[in-house]
Subunit: 766 residues, 2 copies
């Protein structure tokens, strides 16, 4: 949402080549020649492809930054590696195989451990910093208010804790100044050391898992700065949550740990298996919901999610939960502050209110998404984008100014939610359970909800680590609790009303806490459009089957209502707004196109003719075009498809060939068919650098099936042929551009928006 | 495992054609002809494919029994239907769209409701029948022992319940006779009314979800008879469980309910979405684990599992759970009899024993799978296969004879497990908690485990509805409890031993019930090789994070150990043994082949040449071959691929054409290129019946990628081309045969087995 984030191609010229296996040389020496100018050692395709087998798979030069990965190739590379490993016999072979199999488990265990510890650290530190805005602990400066007053009755004020001042105005000013101070510190840290640490990073993690390369996004610096920045940002009292960023942080852990094992660090597809598991660990500690975390990773974040990935995700999530429970940051034995448990069942008539909350959640979610995206667009185009720190100061100041005056906004979000969820028996948080003040409570809650919406749409998008889960839940919980209090009051004043016939004659009937729970769920569902994972997270929070039905209905309604105002949650919105090259494999494509209507026609393509290509002509192609890959055809006349070579590897091959003896600019290039120049004695063998079996399709193939090929097979490009002749090319970029057209996203802000997306897409590779 | 189940092709001649849309006629009348014999209205592929668009998708004749479905086609058909629906405007259009969207929810709700009710019925009835073997209730014949003695203290004997006799031998004989009687009644019901109701049906459900057609397997009769037969089988005391069959039963419900909606009944791919959801409902009620059910469906049963299927599965599982909880068949408020809750945490040193149980579970699982498959093979080839009822009598008699003498085998499996899982505080089931009898208890438990293994491998495979989940769990729980009792005794007699240093000085330290839980989990894991779903099921049974770590480690170890003795659980074994055409999309293919090495070469194929085919020549091809489909090429000389036509539809088109005016045997057939006979005025247009854009690949493509195409895209056949020329064909059948070779399954019983599989595979279509 700021210019830092629009992918630049500055890195494209930096080559990051992996060492070339010594067995492959792109230089061939012609040994004999048959009469028709074809090489006598011309490959017998059937056996030759096998001979190349393993080595061909290692040819790939490392991916450039901001390019898409080739899933098929990476998976094949891994299988080839496994085959080689299997062939190793003896004790050493056995040992290598066992250690290979345990690597994944070591990484996910380490990620789980780190996730648990980091989550605990963030919880404790942010609480301490937050309390420091009010005062300090006389028995130990490092203690937060809760630990300082440990074993002291909550009702009585605690002597060990010393407030900075007793005067309202001084407190108010300290609150504002510290809030701005923390936020700015966080912003400066991020700006100086890890620009990728802003926001929650979920949209980017999703894009990366979808097969895109963003170097440094999951690096050590991002990990450290995001953790520190998040503590400060949370403590600053801004309207943001730590749940989303925690997923980014655990993914960083995963990415850092997997560097120890070449199996993962050198295979982008395998790397993403670990990242999927790590994101499950992140949600597991954020909500204390290990199964919810796995389902979140499966449903929301991951692109391919195999059974073994699921098992590892589960392991990671469980380890993270257990570690967090052992550290016990809240000293309650609970995994999160807002774990809920209810003694009472719900009554049939309450379903009306739960349905209302579900619909309200959908509306609120749609509203938050719309407003946030609109503000982000304004921010991206106005002068403010050049002054991120000033923006932070302004937002933090507004937040602190407003929040201090409303008790529900002043306290920490997690603490607020935990109290809104609670039953009234024996407790009375912020006089929420006081029957006499119910009208003012409802008023305060509704004001808090409205202000929270305003602050949230302002905050989610400034240059800080910030999640949107918690603020959405706060909005929903405030609305829900307000409704719950109203219904409770109604029932108390008119107990004989027909609606309340099923209530017991004695004791309370309505539990307002459950309304807050359902409301928070619905609002979060409206913003993120999560389904199963959200219900499971809430199921794990309450731990009982009792409230599953209301929660499910609220989630379902909020999704339906939200989708009526625009498909997709806020992350899909961010992905589209930022123009990330993410091809959603969950969306259904339902348009009546065929391949030839969408493909780039052969007339508009730069192809390499195998019969007349020399090193110089390749150099020329590289110089005058910036396409990311070139189809290779037999000749420009008959256009029979031979293969596909990516720019990346062609560049590498040319550079290597130039350094070789006997090779000059006029040396012919060999692609597996006839050699162009009959007189040459040395040629450049480009076969190892070429995809000799690209996935092809009839150009009459329906776009539905084409989309399936891209999504399910993970291909980067598709070549359209008819009778062997090349007719066109379709890349992931083309698909995304086509989708942008058919989705008519210009609906949102006219032609402008589409053009800007179009331009951005042009920056991505094929 | 019996001959009834080997797929016969008797049904293949019966045509079950869906009504042909009137807009499609396979008869064309030549309007003009250009000089080169080509039609002047020869299709412009780009626009023409669009014109055919929707209609082409409806051409498909209904699938034959025992054939594989074409996922790509079915999904495309659904999308085309949705496109048409979207175009409908006005109130009626809106209404149709809304009702279309709610259909799935109505079905899964109904399935959940039915699943809950049927599960409750089976629980209550089988318990009543089982108790009837001992005596009857004087206050009401229809009451089982528990309900008869309701509100009467468990310790005291209940006067309302009247045992048939007090004498041991008479009771023993009644026990044996009723056992045989129930089992035989169940066997006869199944044999007469629903042969598909035998076993648990999970292997077949998995095969069906993988895209295979078995008509009647999920019909009303199977539903009714399997439910009744299961009640009788469970009551007979045979070593079998109701969990697996419940999944089959709920899938039957799904299949029956979806018949009301053409959207599902006429689309095999969409049908499978409902069946996936239904199987989640089945496990949900079987174990009281709704989330576990969803994950089971995802991990074990389903082939394609989209997000919307997941959401519906979850809904179905939740409704089923809630309904079952409302019916409350056990009158405990719990969903299953063996829900467990523990007060004590486990100690670090206990991990040694849990690891041991995990390894033991893997070994037991491998043993049960091996023995069971061996016995099934013997059964399939010996004379006994002609006398299924006699076999039931023998097995039931042996079971009853043995079981009555061991208290742990006499009681109902679920009741036994529930007591083995329990803590000792305040209870003493079967004197399990009596410290003085610990040696005899351990002995009895181990004997029970061994006998249970023997009975289970004998039972799973006879012609009755029977699941293997519960018996496996019993074996594991007996072993686990035995170990737990031993460890407890050890700790009691040597409390100062260094291992027990972490035990509290006072009170008990070891909870033998948890050992039973871990043991049962490990054994079930060993038999089924479930991972995440099994842990989640156990997690939902205990409802606490406390025992998740031991459970996870046990599951992981039992899977690793089991896999060392042979990959895949018992269902994979059954699928292989029965030769079901199931292409596992979770297994990794890791061999170094390319397409041309596996494909059927073009010389061995029957192809249709577009330039010289008349109605008569097609008839001839149909008569003299039994291939399930034919590639269409331009001519036998140049072999350029035009398309693919399946036997099914070719037959239908020919029959229809023959009835038309002006068409004779010598009428040419039009495939989209030149017409063979220039003089004819009428021709048969076969384009609507042909797949004009079959998925093709280079014959040099690695088999790894070919497998991915089959698994991920759900194609039925792949055509190999080079420069547009047809080189070969690969069908799902070929893939399965190839896999059988490379897996060297002959290892198990020599060349013989492979040949028999090979022969069976030949019976399946392409």
């Amino acid at each position: 949402m700021n210019s830092d984030f629009t992918f630049k191609r500055k890195d494209l010229n930096r080559r990051t080549a992996s060492p070339l296996p010594s067995s492959i040389s792109p230089i061939g020496v012609r040994t004999s020649r048959s009469n028709d100018g074809r090489l006598s050692q011309e490959p017998n395709v059937e056996t030759d492809a096998l001979d190349w087998g393993g080595d061909v798979l290692e040819r790939r030069v490392a991916y450039d930054n901001f390019t898409t990965i080739d899933w098929i190739h990476d998976f094949a590379k891994e299988r080839s590696r496994l085959r080689k490993l299997k062939k190793k016999k003896g004790t050493r072979g056995k040992w290598l195989q066992v250690s290979d199999a345990t690597q994944a488990w070591i990484i996910v265990f380490a990620v789980g451990l780190a996730a648990g510890l980091i989550a605990a650290l963030i919880d404790i530190s942010s609480e301490w910093l937050s309390d420091l805005r009010e005062g300090y602990c006389t028995t130990g400066f490092y203690l937060n208010k809760k630990f300082c007053c440990w074993e002291i009755d909550d009702g009585v004020s605690c002597d060990y804790w010393h407030n900075w001042t007793g005067k309202f105005w001084v407190s108010y000013i300290i609150y504002i100044v510290t809030g701005i101070g923390f936020a700015v510190t966080s912003g400066i840290l991020v700006k100086l050391y890890a620009p990728y640490a802003i926001w929650d990073g979920l949209a980017e993690v999703k894009t990366i898992l979808g097969g895109f390369i963003i170097k440094g996004f999951l690096g050590v610096w991002t990990l450290v700065i995001k953790s520190l920045g998040l503590i400060l940002a949370v403590a600053s009292g801004l309207s943001l949550g730590k749940e989303g960023p925690l997923v980014h942080i655990t993914c960083c852990c995963g990415n850092v740990f997997l560097r120890l094992f070449p199996k993962y660090s050198q295979n982008e597809a395998k790397k993403r298996e670990i990242l999927s598991a790590a994101s499950a660990g992140g949600i597991s500690v954020a909500f204390g919901a290990p199964i919810g975390g796995v389902l979140f990773s499966l449903e929301e974040v991951s692109y391919y999610f195999s059974d073994s990935t699921m098992w590892r995700s589960f392991f990671c999530a469980m380890v993270a939960s257990v570690v967090l429970q052992m550290v016990n940051p809240f000293r309650t034995g609970k995994l999160v502050l807002f774990q809920a448990s209810y003694n009472r069942d719900w009554h049939g008539f309450e379903m009306i209110f739960f349905v209302f909350l579900g619909i309200l959640g959908g509306l609120l979610g749609a509203l938050i998404i719309r407003l946030n995206l609109r503000i982000t667009r304004i921010r991206n185009t106005s002068f403010i984008r050049h002054y991120p720190i000033t923006e932070i100061v302004i937002v933090a100041a507004i937040t602190a100014l407003i929040s201090y005056l409303n008790i529900f906004m002043r306290v920490d979000s997690t603490e607020l939610i935990s109290n809104l969820f609670r039953e009234c028996e024996g407790n009375d948080y912020y006089t929420l359970c006081n029957h006499n003040t119910f009208a003012s409570n409802v008023g305060l809650l509704i004001v808090a909800a409205i202000l929270k919406i305003v602050l949230t749409v302002l905050t989610f998008g400034i240059q800080l680590p910030a999640g949107i889960f918690m603020p959405s839940m706060v909005v929903g919980a405030c609305c829900g609790r307000a409704l719950g209090i109203l219904v409770e009051a109604w029932q108390r004043y008119y107990p004989t009303f027909w609606l309340f016939a099923s209530c017991p004659p004695e004791g309370s009937c309505i539990t307002p806490g459950t309304y807050a729970l359902v409301g928070a769920t619905a609002a979060l569902g409206g913003v993120t459009r999560m389904t199963v994972s959200l219900v499971v997270i809430m199921f794990e929070l309450t731990g009982a089957l009792t409230y599953v039905l209301p929660i499910m209905i609220a989630v379902m309604l909020s999704k339906w209502v939200g989708d009526a105002f625009g498909k997709g949650g806020i992350y899909d919105g961010v992905i589209k707004l930022q123009g990330y090259p993410f091809l959603d494999n969950k969306e259904t494509y339902n348009y009546d196109f065929i391949g030839s209507q969408v493909m780039t026609r052969v007339d508009d393509l730069v192809v390499i003719p195998a019969n007349s290509t020399t090193l110089d002509s390749l150099d020329e192609i590289m110089q005058f075009t910036d396409y990311k890959g070139f189809p290779v055809v037999s000749s420009l006349r008959d256009m029979m498809l031979i293969g596909f070579i990516s720019r990346n590897e062609l560049r590498f091959a040319i550079d290597q060939a130039k350094r070789a003896d006997g090779i000059s600019g006029s040396s012919p290039c060999y692609f597996g068919t006839a050699l162009p120049v009959l007189e040459a004695t040395a040629y450049v063998d480009l076969r190892p650098w070429m995809d000799m079996t690209p996935i092809t399709a009839s150009y009459k193939l329906s776009m539905e099936t084409v989309m399936e090929l891209f999504r399910k097979m993970g291909i980067r490009y598709l070549l359209f042929v008819q009778n062997g002749k090349l007719h066109g090319l379709l890349t992931k970029k083309d698909i995304l551009r086509h989708l942008a057209v058919v989705h008519r996203i210009q609906r949102m802000d006219g032609e402008n928006r589409f053009h800007s997306l179009n331009l951005r897409l042009n920056e991505f590779d094929s």
